[in-house]
Amino acid sequence: MIDVVYFAWVRERIGLPREQVETSAATVADLITELSAREDRYAMAFADLSSLRVALDQELAEFDSPLAGIREVAIFPPMTGG
């Protein structure tokens, strides 16, 4: 079980801010493929990987970063602070 959190329009398209996911995905990319296959709202939120960023346990990461040992995956659009 892994916590998956969403922000901004990713959160809005998926319709929830956080969920627990039962997965054996090896990488963030695998997890995204798995969720996209599950329901349309995920497929729509994750359609364009170039407009997504990810963090693992609150550190920025890559799509091919391994999920082993990770408790929290965050998926969100490019940040717009400042």
Binding site: V5, F7, A55, E59, L60, A74, P77, M79, T80, G82
Partner: protein, 147 residues
């Protein structure tokens, strides 16, 4: 070094003065303040800022610590708001103190560039004409390359 993430408004002048007073010995103080701008249509009602509690503190602390190591700074400050902001409200500020103005300027620009594209904040403009997420700009991502 102080990192503050808050929903409440802040007074940039009072924060600047407090920062300058605590950084005694520094000859140069640079501040940057970001103010909520109206949208192109001129009908912005609220700017809503979402953030990632936990990661935000971490990301800003990392950015500030890197700046403290990379330049000769006496102190640095980051304040960033989240929640609902009105047009003309200050969104955030950074301040740097150094003996040398070049270091104070460079560090403030570095803090801003990283804060724009590497700190987990997202802005949504809520206007009469509709609501929309502010898109990241290529020029902000490109700005990171110089460091």
């Amino acid at each position: 070094m102080r990192i503050t993430i808050q929903s409440e408004p802040f007074d940039m002048g009072a924060e600047s003065n407090a920062f300058a007073t605590s950084a005694k010995g520094a000859g140069a103080i640079v501040t940057f303040t970001g103010i909520t701008r109206d949208n192109a249509q001129g009908d912005l009602q609220v700017m809503e800022i979402e953030h990632y509690p936990g990661m935000t503190e971490r990301a800003l602390t990392d950015i500030a610590e890197t700046a403290m190591q990379r330049w000769q700074l006496d102190d640095c400050l980051i304040i960033h708001r989240y929640g609902r902001l009105a047009p003309q409200d200050p969104i955030m500020m950074v301040a740097t103190a150094s003996r040398h103005r070049a270091d104070a300027f460079a560090a403030a620009e570095y803090l801003m560039d990283y804060l724009k594209s590497r700190a987990p904040f997202w802005k949504k403009e809520i206007a009469k004409s509709g609501a929309s997420w502010v898109a990241a700009r290529d020029v902000d991502e490109a700005a990171l390359k110089r460091w």
